[in-house]
Subunit: 525 residues, 2 copies
Amino acid sequence: MAFTFQINNDVTWNREERLLKKAQENLPEILKTDIQPVAITEIIEDEHGLNGYSAVVSEKKISDLAKYGLGRDQKIILDLGDHYVGHFSIDITSVGSPMDAPLYLRVKFAEVPAEVVADSNDYDGWLSKSWIQEEYIHLDVLPARLELPRRYSCRFIELAVIDTSPKWQASFSNPVFVAESCVAMEQLTSFEIQDDELSTIYDISVKTLFDCMQEVFEDGPKRDRRLWIGDLRLQALANYATFGDLALTKRCLYLFGGMTTTDGKIPANVFTAPNLIPDDTFLFDYSIFFAVILADFYYQTKDQEVLSDLYPAAKKQIDQALTLVDDEGRLNLLDEWPVFIDWSNEFEKSTAGQAVLIYALKRFIQLAEWMEEPDLISYQEQLAELTVFAQTQLFDEEKNQFIIEQSKEINVASQVWMVLAEVFDQEKNSKIMEEMISTQFPITGIATPYMYHHVVEALFVAGLKEEAIQLLKNYWGKMIELGADTFWEAFKPEEPDFSPYGSPIMSSYCHAWSCTPAYLIKKYI
Amino acid sequence: MAFTFQINNDVTWNREERLLKKAQENLPEILKTDIQPVAITEIIEDEHGLNGYSAVVSEKKISDLAKYGLGRDQKIILDLGDHYVGHFSIDITSVGSPMDAPLYLRVKFAEVPAEVVADSNDYDGWLSKSWIQEEYIHLDVLPARLELPRRYSCRFIELAVIDTSPKWQASFSNPVFVAESCVAMEQLTSFEIQDDELSTIYDISVKTLFDCMQEVFEDGPKRDRRLWIGDLRLQALANYATFGDLALTKRCLYLFGGMTTTDGKIPANVFTAPNLIPDDTFLFDYSIFFAVILADFYYQTKDQEVLSDLYPAAKKQIDQALTLVDDEGRLNLLDEWPVFIDWSNEFEKSTAGQAVLIYALKRFIQLAEWMEEPDLISYQEQLAELTVFAQTQLFDEEKNQFIIEQSKEINVASQVWMVLAEVFDQEKNSKIMEEMISTQFPITGIATPYMYHHVVEALFVAGLKEEAIQLLKNYWGKMIELGADTFWEAFKPEEPDFSPYGSPIMSSYCHAWSCTPAYLIKKYI
């Protein structure tokens, strides 16, 4: 697992206010629901739980919460009963003698039990400590209603009294978590799934998507609240299959289309506070996915205005990508515009990159046809060259697998993306996938639902429905076994406690790119 | 050093709303002054500084503050140039790439350099950790003006960035500390002191008092913001000698007079937030000081209304105290109404307690005369009995010192309070004090400016002016040598780093009961 921070201070930006205005016109209203904790909980050591911990209902009753006065070093954990994103408030009073010192309180919000137990002082990873959902609060005067101004993503809320004084204790009552999303569960159309396991996976996918749908499609509401284009593509697909909130997708498309570099490149992500700000990070596959997302949107909506507005930006990404293709049809990636494919840098990505370009170019050609693009033929010719190069130079007929041109490395990502790009027909794709299953399964070294999504979808595309369903169950089902209320940013079945950050306190346990089973189940099952 | 928390849950209160209304009518307006830091400072190890640390001006310029971008684990210390009490705000922005994580910031307010360095995690003393002036703050969106809602007491403000992200840093600008007091330095009448050392002691006393004068005479603005009656007595004396804010003194008298137990006892302290609340702590000497404070106020103001309103409460304290005096004129203290005298419990307090009662009764008799009290003679007779008992049973003629009746212990407090109570004439008092100086000086085991004040005043009362001035200089001057901007809650010259709480992070370095040199210098020099 590796992630390199990009810093590109010299990049200059072109803001198309006409497009950004349309993005802001589609800013959703956030819907709010009051959630009361369902129980007081205790976190216990449990070898079957994620990171070795599980939550069990305490002997203390939530209805008696106010009776449990807390003094120095005493704590209580509230269980919301499910994962939510939103704001927390609670009444606090002092009991005993007059309050002769402030109340000093730590409030910790946790998505999973192990996060409650983890000590934030032990975290020294590369991602900012500022993401740890933990507040230290002084209250000089009680009674008071503590209304925390920040938003949290959690199921568990730990109230830890650091100190009162020997003369009084703090008593808590009326805890309320205002759950927030721009969609309502009532928007879902009823959908029957016979298989109980798949039904549960579907429900948790939907809840994951729900919690990530805020003022943009967020990446992970706990920790990375930005709009990332790679995640947007998958969230939009899951959204079409479930909530069908077209305005939010439109908004996000306009946000990317409206903020490009002066040479036209779309950034990997954008921020929306304090105002609309593009990030100085660029990923090859993410940039060209803009055309894919636009094509998916147009399939769903036939919205000519959006197509006309955003086609130029989509075209610009493809054009920039195609400048990297040489006369033989080979994509030559640049260090300053790396391809993501997956977090792991333990495998070579050039073949998968070539496949992503073929995949995106095919969808762009659809857009170009709708737009009556004068240069359509040129794009078709370049697609053919890229495809022929892949078929002849990146495929080992004997091994029946795609390879890396120089090193001959065979990896999962190359097969998966070439199948998704449909470089060969379904029969041949099926053989490639079978070969991959026999040589690479069970998969190791891949930690993202993002990559697993593409593996599963490639199996479906290649006609291997049973194998696809099995992997879906093995991967997402295993998270449920470990206690998932929503699906996670990172999960390695062969190493369930793995965190890319070295601590569950930093991992995101509700993460957009893991919400795709809802889409896969609806589309393929 | 010991302090026993009193918890008296069964006490019932009598609130005299008529008196409390007058207390609230005298609620002062808080005057505010914007203070800009004068320097960026570095804390260095220094064997001559308090607790081994001193502050030196940094090479970093305060005018360049915004240029010093801070990332993970970087910090900067602002120096206000003097001690202040009030509210802090500062502009914060991000510099570098877009802000891809919250800012996590610790802001620490310190009265002395050693407090900046002390780690709050190391503190495990008996006083509440909630007093540590340290806030942990997440800011999700920058730029922002951070306006901290709580009040602090400090000279130094440490801005410690716990984390940003590798892509950006936090930049700080426009720090403002709004200093607060209910009086203005301009209210002081000009007062020439020839002796430079005394002049500095006077100035710092005045600043100490200034910072403690808020909506009540506070005990210590950093940590104990209550109105304590023992401190009120001394603050009122220093106030008459300096700012002359009679309204605040009147307010505080009415607060105590308006909240007594149903059997009439005045509590040792009261709270004013969220509303007026008496504490369930009772101290014998503090209760009867009510009569002394009222007498002092009447000497100053000749305010007949205040006298009439509060005489009954003063009388009630004296009457309760006198029930503890037996036929021989001996005060028999009760465990549930202990005498304070000093924090230290290393010496016996019965003789000092008897002296305090004589001292207070003399002043009450003055009140009784003004009020034309019908039982005046009875009080005079009881005073005589108490005095004779002290002269005959508590004084060792041979040793020329007051003693504890049973153990024969001779201690400083017994001599000092009997001299202040003027049980003997000045000539004899002078001899007693000389004997005390020869046997007990340099004083050890006394850690409070409260007790040292009484020692110095007793020397003045006994006519030992030189010795009084010398002790004043030795004690308060030594704090200045160690870097005091205001005088401290606790100080042992023989052990300068002593803290009653085991850490400078909890000690109060601006404390009401240490402000009396202003009064002593004006009255006696």
